[in-house]
């Protein structure tokens, strides 16, 4: 089991970390681990059109509108304003870097200055 002393390394933890590395390899190569040739059903090929944006949205949206597992109840949250500005900037300029920079330019003053 993991150690309670924070700066001591134990063997069990290292094995679990190695296991996580194998999980990374297996999930990232899942459908080309095997050499056998096979074809995707039509619906799965269509589904691929929609899966990546769904995965991003599923990760991103809770990070913007939730705090500790609860939907935020106030509009005084720096993340909402930063995300809104980020989306607007992206569709105006089609530039991801500018989205990040201007989004953070809204986020940091609200978050650090006003404590939102």
């Amino acid at each position: 089991m993991s150690s309670t002393d924070l700066n001591v390394t134990d063997g069990w933890t290292l094995w679990v970390i190695l296991g996580l590395a194998i999980i990374t390899v297996v999930t990232r190569s899942f459908f080309f681990l095997s050499n056998t040739e096979w074809h995707l059903p039509h619906w799965a090929q269509r589904g691929l059109q929609y899966a990546p944006i769904a995965a991003l949205s599923a990760v991103v949206v809770p990070e913007i509108v939730m705090t500790q597992g609860e939907l935020i109840a106030t509009w005084q949250d720096a993340r909402i304003f930063a995300a809104a500005v980020g989306v607007a900037v992206y569709f105006a300029k089609r530039n991801v870097l500018l989205t990040i920079v201007l989004g953070m330019a809204v986020y940091l003053p609200l978050h650090l200055g006003l404590g939102w």
Binding site: T24, F31, A44, L56, V61
Partner: protein
């Protein structure tokens, strides 16, 4: 793989590095905070460095760490890591057509280095797998450039984060830059009405199902969004047949 001469000398390699640069920039703060978070939540410095170098999956590292520290059974930690990584299974299905010409091990190594930003940028630039050897090499070189830029920036910033763990307060919220980065990529994918529908359904479902254990809300949200879009396609096709 980016250490092969035929790939890093190909002009597409440089293009891949350049296309990834903005994402890498946005990822800096995120990677830093991941490094900080690993140490802050109770990993030893050696464990955090080892994890950063071999696991190479920020979201699964962040999901697994509290479980490891709490002494959860290994299978629970690994199951959580697998679920957070399920999106990569979807990516691998898509990448199959682009990589099957490679022998098994190079294919698997290429897969290992394929993360969210590299996958999205690669499939945005190449909508279809190559049908000539020359084009295959072009695609491989572009992917190698993306992977190289992403791996070096992620690993170096994570390690820096581990080193600085006690100097940067988590309360600054610098990790939010990573979310803005993903948000920008998400917007760049919103190229059709059905994809917008997919994003809306997934976003709402992920929030409503947030209480599910092991981050299963993300898997459920993806499944529901894809299902909704396939249904909408069917509905549209049926309406066109009637018209």
């Amino acid at each position: 793989m980016f250490w092969q001469r035929k790939l890093y000398q190909h002009p597409e390699f440089k293009l891949g590095v350049r296309d990834l640069a903005p994402q890498a920039f946005g990822q800096i703060a995120w990677a830093l905070m991941t490094g900080v978070a690993l140490v802050k939540s109770g990993m030893s410095v050696f464990e955090a460095v080892f994890m950063t170098l071999v696991v190479y999956a920020g979201s699964s590292q962040l999901a697994a760490t509290p479980l490891i520290v709490a002494g959860a059974p290994a299978w629970v930690v690994l199951a959580a890591g697998f679920c957070v990584n399920l999106r990569f299974v979807v990516f691998s299905l898509h990448m199959r057509g682009y990589l099957m010409h490679l022998p098994r091990w190079p294919r698997i190594v290429t897969g290992y280095f394929n993360t969210d930003p590299t996958y999205v940028l690669f499939t945005r630039r190449f909508a279809h797998p190559a049908n000539t050897d020359e084009l295959r090499l072009t695609q491989e070189a572009y992917l190698a450039g993306l992977s190289f830029a992403n791996w070096t920036s992620w690993i170096s910033c994570s390690l820096l984060g581990i080193a600085l763990a006690n100097a940067i307060p988590t309360s600054w919220g610098l990790g939010f830059a990573g979310i803005l980065c993903l948000l920008g990529i998400q917007c760049s994918l919103a190229s059709s009405r059905l994809r917008v529908l997919s994003a809306i359904v997934a976003g709402i479902a992920a929030v409503l199902a947030y209480a599910l254990p092991l981050k299963l809300n993300i898997v459920l949200a993806i499944l529901m969004a894809v299902f909704a879009c396939l249904m909408a396609e069917q509905f549209k096709a049926a309406k066109e047949r009637l018209a």
